[in-house]
């Protein structure tokens, strides 16, 4: 009891002590700005965190956002390619929604974090060279962040200082800049980065990475200016020029992109990886290896995002989601990435340079008939499924797994059905038939573990007729989350060449010298792919080459947006499959192919408002909303 009284007495004493600074403790789980940046190691750590937040569209970029590699990141493996004409998902029929590919709060968090470091740089106790490097690096990060915002939202609030809250929330509100001002800011930040960064290669930003960023960003802006009229928008945001660029601005942005690409091209530091293969087979293998491990190609890789270790927040999930079902190695959800027939059609044939080479399946050569198998049509017969792809650009085989091609030492069986000897078609229905003592199965084999196509079982099989190879590791799959450790080339030399070629051909009056250089750039990439005949520099040739060379590098989504082609490409758009069927009407059995719409999918229509993303929280931040949201 005596003890308790003492306790009460002490309680009364507390308010008195409150006037003292006993309670003004620094929190133990936080560190002050001075302490953090006072130690060079602290600054490095802080910088690492900025790099992690960088909106790099690598293997962890999905419609939910960036760095989708936390614990159990179950997004169904719905990759950005699946809202474009590159691929469909084996199960999901989703399209681009208002909630997809946003990056607002995370963007401004990164911008606040980088602004804090930018303000601290002058006071850091380090050498001037190190300070310059930090100035360049932070400008690169800020340019990268505002580029990611500008291509989603148009003009955005440009915040270049670390805002302090002093009791008035209104003082923190920054209105949107125009889209032109925002792009100009991105390019100006690139210039600061270019000026201050060194030429060393590695995982951190370099002068070259900054040039590459400028090449890409300026090309995006130029395209919006040139093609914005293809999809006119209206509303307050348009009236105030917060979205949209005047067509007259295209010239200056194309020029900026050309100059940035040229700086990389004339630096002598870069080239294409293995530029002159002996054969298409060699070209295919070189191209495949380049993406399995870009570290082998220091001449081509300009900026790499690494995934050094497996594990949450470190590895990624491309291998478990996208490898064909037969190599799943116990993982229950493989086979999600299904390249479309449209993409496969695009790849040139070596004997018809400069033209798309659609897969012809019938004697009449009609490639626009997607009405399914029709017994009255004459289908071309092939001894082996691979024969129908004979002579196509080597990159096709390095990007997609074709029916019955070998991957990881086993033939990947992709078959949609068979035609019975009496002519009855059995397509995508589980069945079997015995002919001359041999039993044939709809999907090419008896058990679900023995094939990779068309069966809806588990959503594990391709429904386009193609599975996925680009970026895939040749090591056995580790059946768990975040176990893949392949690295991603964010910027590579081939993209720069293609940016250059596009900017030259799209700009109003390119010089003869530039056209020649652009044509060489285009054809250098084709030579690396095993082509031997050069093609002229045309808009169609550049775009086809870009779609083929950069397929699945998360470029197509933005290409459709910046060139304002999405609403015309996706207007009640069905995506297509190639269905290999075993024709038992012949002895021995042969293969025929049917061009068809992807089974169990619906047409998709792009809404022009989706050229810009909705700005969240306008009730609070007071910003002008984008059109039609």
């Amino acid at each position: 009891m005596k003890f308790k009284k003492l306790y009460i007495f002490l309680l009364f004493l507390l308010p008195a002590a409150g006037c003292n600074d006993v309670l003004d403790l620094e929190p133990l789980d936080k560190i002050t700005q001075e302490d953090l940046f006072g130690d060079p190691e602290g600054t490095k750590l802080y910088m690492a965190n900025l790099y992690r937040q960088l909106p790099i569209e690598d293997f962890t970029f999905f419609r939910q956002g960036f760095n989708q590699n936390g614990p159990g990141p179950n997004n169904g493996g719905f990759a950005p390619a699946m809202v474009t004409d590159e691929a469909v998902h084996s199960e999901f029929g989703d399209f681009l929604g208002d909630g997809d590919f946003n990056w607002w709060e995370a963007g401004y968090k990164l911008i606040r974090d980088v602004n804090l470091l930018i303000e601290a740089i002058p006071s850091l106790d380090i050498l001037q060279e190190e300070k310059d490097a930090y100035i360049g690096e932070t400008a690169f990060i800020r340019a990268y962040a505002y580029f990611a915002l500008a291509k989603r939202y148009g003009g955005v609030p440009i915040i270049t200082t670390q805002q302090q809250f002093e009791g008035d929330p209104e003082a923190l509100k920054v209105p949107r800049s125009t889209e032109e001002e925002t792009w100009d800011f991105v390019l100006a930040e690139c210039d600061i980065a270019i000026e201050n960064l060194g030429t060393q290669k590695g995982r951190r930003a370099s002068k070259w990475a900054a040039y590459a960023l400028k090449s890409r960003a300026a090309l995006h802006a130029a395209s919006v200016a040139k093609f914005g009229n293809r999809a006119p928008l209206s509303g307050d945001a348009v009236d105030q020029r917060l979205v949209g660029l005047d067509p007259s601005l295209a010239g200056k942005y194309y020029e900026a992109s050309i100059a940035a690409s040229e700086a990389i091209m004339s630096s002598g530091e870069f080239g294409l990886y293995k530029p002159t293969p002996e054969s298409p087979e060699e070209a295919a293998e070189n191209y495949r290896q380049l993406f399995e491990d870009p570290n082998i190609a220091s001449e081509e890789a300009i900026f790499i995002k690494g995934h050094a270790l497996p594990g949450d927040h470190q590895g990624h999930n491309y291998d478990i989601w996208f490898q064909p079902a037969q190599v799943a190695n116990g993982w229950p959800h493989p086979g999600r990435m299904n390249p479309t027939l449209e993409l496969v059609d695009l790849y040139e044939s070596y004997d018809q340079p400069g033209e798309i080479a659609p897969i012809v399946t019938t004697a009449d050569g009609d490639i626009h008939n997607y009405n399914g198998f029709n017994a009255s049509r004459t289908y071309l017969r092939f001894e082996h499924p691979a024969d129908i792809f004979e002579g196509k650009d080597a990159r096709l085989r390095a990007t997609a797994i074709l029916p019955s091609s070998t991957w990881k030492g086993i033939p990947i069986i992709i078959q949609a059905g068979f035609i019975k000897p009496d002519g009855t078609p059995v397509i995508r229905t589980n069945d079997q038939v015995t002919v001359n003592g041999t039993t044939y199965y709809t999907f090419g084999a008896e058990n679900t573990s023995q094939y990779s196509g068309f069966d809806t079982y588990g959503g594990n099989n391709t429904r386009t007729g193609f599975s996925f190879k680009k970026f895939m590791s040749t090591d056995p799959i580790v059946p768990g989350w975040n176990q893949s450790t392949s690295d991603f080339m964010d910027f590579r030399y081939a993209e720069i060449l293609l940016n250059y070629a596009e900017a030259v051909i799209e700009s109003s009056s390119p010089s003869g010298e530039a056209v020649a250089k652009a044509e060489k750039a285009l054809n250098d990439i084709r030579t690396r792919a095993g082509h031997t005949v050069a093609i002229p520099l045309t808009i169609e040739n550049v775009q086809r080459e870009r779609r083929v060379e950069l397929a699945f590098e998360n470029k197509r989504l933005w290409d459709l947006i910046r060139r304002r082609e999405y609403h015309t490409e996706f207007n009640s758009r069905m995506r297509r499959s190639l269905m290999p069927l075993l024709d038992l009407r012949t002895t021995p059995a042969s293969y025929i192919f049917v061009r068809a719409s992807v089974p169990n999918t619906n047409p998709h229509t792009f809404q022009p408002k989706s050229y810009y993303r909705p700005i969240p929280g306008i009730g609070g931040n007071g910003l002008v909303q984008n059109p039609q949201y």
Binding site: I8, S234, G372, S572, T605, G619, Q628
Partner: protein, 242 residues
């Protein structure tokens, strides 16, 4: 719980202590909630887009079509609401909060109309009298043999080019250019005269993937004017068994 003991409360049992806490928290909860006394969304707005000259409703699209923009007053900034218009040109939203709104049909298939302030209450009616960019006239959609044949004339009210005309098919009556499983289109890129007769044919045999023999489908003809953000103009859909 030491501080509680210092308050010198003697509990007869553990249960009593529990009851004390529950009563205390309930009291807290109850005093916090007071029913909000605003009326529910009981107001409604409905009406039709009407061709000012002919008095006929102006046909629309439910996907990517004309929408009515509602901006509620009294909030700043405010996110506008958009009402979709049915194919027959009528619209209704019966779950609005009574208030004054700025109302304007936008991005339509008719010459732009000015916004107007409307006090929306229960059963508020509002028709919009407009001049459609194109009137699709003398429409006949018939089965000729196995082929669906549409003939029609176009009357344009603005001098702009007509971008294209089309015959669209879908199993749902809301068929239109953005909602079609089979289509025949013709690019024009020129102005047309009122007496020019257009013919579009659609062969179901070329679309067996979606158009199954013996089923009934809806067919509709439309035309698009070359004006930024303009939508298609149509005549009503026709059901035909193929």
């Amino acid at each position: 719980m030491a501080w509680f003991k210092t308050l010198n409360i003697n509990y007869a049992s553990k249960d009593m202590k529990k009851i004390f806490f529950i009563t205390l928290s309930l009291a807290g909860l109850l005093s916090a909630c007071e029913l909000d006394n605003y009326p529910g969304p009981t107001a409604s707005l409905s009406g039709t887009i009407i061709d000012d000259e002919t008095g006929e409703p102006v046909q629309q699209d439910i996907i990517r079509g004309t929408v009515i923009e509602l901006t509620e007053h009294g909030y700043d900034p405010v996110q506008p609401q958009y009402l979709i218009i049915k194919n027959d040109g009528s619209y209704e939203n019966s779950r609005l909060f009574a208030n004054t709104y700025t109302v304007q049909p936008v991005r339509g298939n008719f010459i732009a109309v000015e916004p107007q302030e409307v006090a929306i209450k229960e059963n508020t009616k509002l028709d919009f009298h407009v001049i459609p960019y194109i009137r699709v006239k003398d429409v006949s959609i018939e089965k000729a043999g196995t082929i669906i044949k549409a003939t029609f004339r176009l009357e344009q009210t603005v001098p702009n080019n007509i971008v294209k005309i089309g015959l669209y098919a879908h199993p749902d009556p809301h068929v239109g250019e953005p909602m079609a499983i089979a289509r025949t289109e013709q690019e024009l890129h020129r102005p047309v005269s009122d007496d020019e007769l257009f013919t579009l044919e659609l062969d179901p045999a070329a679309h067996t993937e979606f158009l199954k023999q013996g089923n009934t489908y809806f067919f509709r003809v439309g035309a698009l004017i070359d004006v930024g953000e303009a939508k298609f103009n149509y005549e009503a859909a026709v059901a035909i068994a193929i």
